[in-house]
């Protein structure tokens, strides 16, 4: 099945935060009220009860002008090759055939390996259940033929949902237009990053201006741990057991042979 993805166009977003509320509403998530930190962000980061947030990045181009903002809707990127899925010891993650990274809370044991494996630090621990949570790309809605709750609610058309190829084509056009109209650094995010994200962004400036890693990377400790230590180094344990069992037998056979020498209770 073709990949279906969510496209977020920063240039059309007004940071109304409708998507946050729609997400909370659909997923039955309680409000999490964070203290005022002197900026417009309601939440510094996603949390166990907040799958998506709106980032406000303040900047000043010209001191004579007022403060300006970069907005960014931030949530799970639904990586095509997800690190969270690779490290999960309970195989709680699956990729749907249309590209959502789905997390099954039934299997999760709350070890938080995925939180630290994710290049975006997205999966968050929900203490009361001892499990992690994150954006589902509204799997149930999409599979019932609907669009994700956040997309459906977006009043400006900044969020759209559909075939990844079509959306990429659209994004290329849009970026061309933006570059020609006052945003020379406009770019697509999610096309190639980490081998492709099933979540596309049209940015009006370079990704770092939006707090996104320009070249996100999966920590090198993960392949060491998951591809080498677990499958190979662990065999030392059965080796030690087998060696001991072998010695158990040979010592007893050899003791029989050297009976005369071992007279008087072996040594």
């Amino acid at each position: 099945m073709a990949l279906k993805t969510n496209l977020y166009d920063v240039s059309k977003c007004t940071a109304c935060r409708g998507c946050i509320i729609a997400c909370k509403d659909w997923n039955q998530l309680p409000a999490v009220i964070e203290p005022f930190k002197g900026n417009y962000c309601t939440h510094e980061d996603t949390n166990g009860d907040t799958f998506t947030i709106m980032r406000f990045m303040e900047y000043e181009e010209d001191p004579a002008d007022d403060v300006k903002w970069h907005f960014l809707k931030y949530q799970c990127m639904h990586c095509l090759d997800p690190a969270c899925m690779k490290v999960c010891p309970r195989h709680a993650y699956t990729k749907t055939d249309w590209g959502a990274t789905f997390h099954d809370p039934e299997k999760c044991v709350g070890c938080q390996y995925c939180t630290y494996a994710c290049p975006f630090h997205i999966p968050k621990y929900r203490k009361r259940e001892d499990k992690i949570t994150k954006c589902t790309l509204c799997v149930e809605r999409v599979e019932a033929g609907l669009t994700p709750a956040c997309t459906r609610t977006c009043p400006t058309g900044a969020l759209s949902f559909g075939d990844r190829h079509e959306l990429l084509d659209y994004a290329e056009e849009r970026v061309k237009f933006l570059r020609a109209n006052g945003f020379p650094n406009a770019t697509i995010y999610g096309k190639l990053e980490l081998g492709g994200l099933n979540k596309l962004y049209i940015l009006t400036d370079t990704p770092d201006k939006f707090g996104l890693p320009i070249d996100p990377k999966v920590s090198s400790t993960i392949p060491a741990w998951k591809d080498w230590i677990q499958p190979y180094v662990g065999w030392l344990i059965p080796l030690a057991l087998a060696g001991s069992a072998f010695s158990f037998v040979t010592t007893r056979i050899l003791a029989g042979k050297h009976e005369e020498h071992a007279e008087g209770g072996h040594e």
Binding site: V87, P89, R90, H91, K107, V109, G110, C111, Q112, Y113, T115, Y116, A117, H121, Y125, D130, S219, T221, I222, A224, W225, K226, I229, Q230, P231, V233, G234, L236, I237, L239, A240, L241, G243, S244, F246, S247, F248, T250, T251, R252, I253, L254, A255, H258, H261, G265, H266, E267
Partner: protein
């Protein structure tokens, strides 16, 4: 067939481990094995439902892992507080690692399989035990440190948390590798099995001590027995 050498009360015996050393050793043994079994539930990537089932499922295993981990830590603390002198003497003995220990370790595979070998005289801990005494406790300390970091990741830097996962696993494998051989040698191995009683009841047969740890025996008991017989 005999599993462990018989405990001989009729023969003269000498003390090898005091109460605190024995109590914490067996405390560590039980908690280590509990941590191991509950940890393997996650380590065996293909799934270990049967193993998890013993602890009431994966969440149960996680809980037992944490309880055993805290108990293991408490035994470590008890050991350090109440037998600090013992630890210092232990470390001092490890620092005596020398030529005789190397010869011991090189010849050991034959002894391990049960061939009669002539070993150079050993101090309190033989070459193999010295190696074990360095590697296993180091791994256990790494397990404890990385374990608490994995348990409370939010209070540590993310880079440290990421490196803790492979460290916890490598330390687990190395420690378990050593413990398998160590547990076998300290019980069912006919040559060194007598040492089990040193760890269980505190004493070993005098003739065994003379034969297996000649230097230790000379330094700790030989002088005294000579002095005793002189006095008589």
């Amino acid at each position: 067939m005999q599993l462990i050498p018989e405990y001989r009360e009729d023969l003269p015996r000498v003390e090898r481990f005091n109460f605190v050393a024995r109590m914490t050793h067996w405390g560590h043994t039980v908690t280590f094995i509990l941590c191991l079994l509950t940890g393997l539930v996650l380590f065996l990537n293909s799934g270990a439902d049967w193993l998890a089932a013993i602890f009431g499922g994966y969440n149960g295993a996680g809980l037992v892992h944490r309880i055993a981990a805290v108990t293991l830590t408490i035994f470590l603390v008890i050991f350090v507080i109440f037998d600090f002198k013992g630890i210092i003497n232990w470390v001092k003995d490890l620092l005596r690692f020398g030529k005789d220990d190397i010869i011991f370790v090189m010849k050991f595979p034959l002894e391990f399989l049960g061939f009669p070998v002539k070993m150079p005289p050993q101090t309190r801990f033989n070459g193999g035990e010295k190696g074990n005494s360095m590697l296993t406790p180091t791994c256990v300390i790494l397990l404890v440190l990385s374990g608490y970091i994995m348990w409370f990741p939010t209070i540590f830097p993310a880079g440290l948390v990421r490196i803790s996962y492979p460290i916890h696993d490598i330390a687990m494998v190395l420690a378990t590798f050593m413990v398998c051989m160590h547990g076998y040698l300290g019980s069912f191995h006919p040559g060194s099995g007598e040492s089990f009683w040193g760890m269980w009841k505190g004493t070993v047969r005098e003739d065994w001590a003379k034969h297996h740890h000649a230097i230790w025996y000379e330094e700790t008991y030989a002088d005294k027995t000579d002095a005793d017989s002189d006095a008589e």
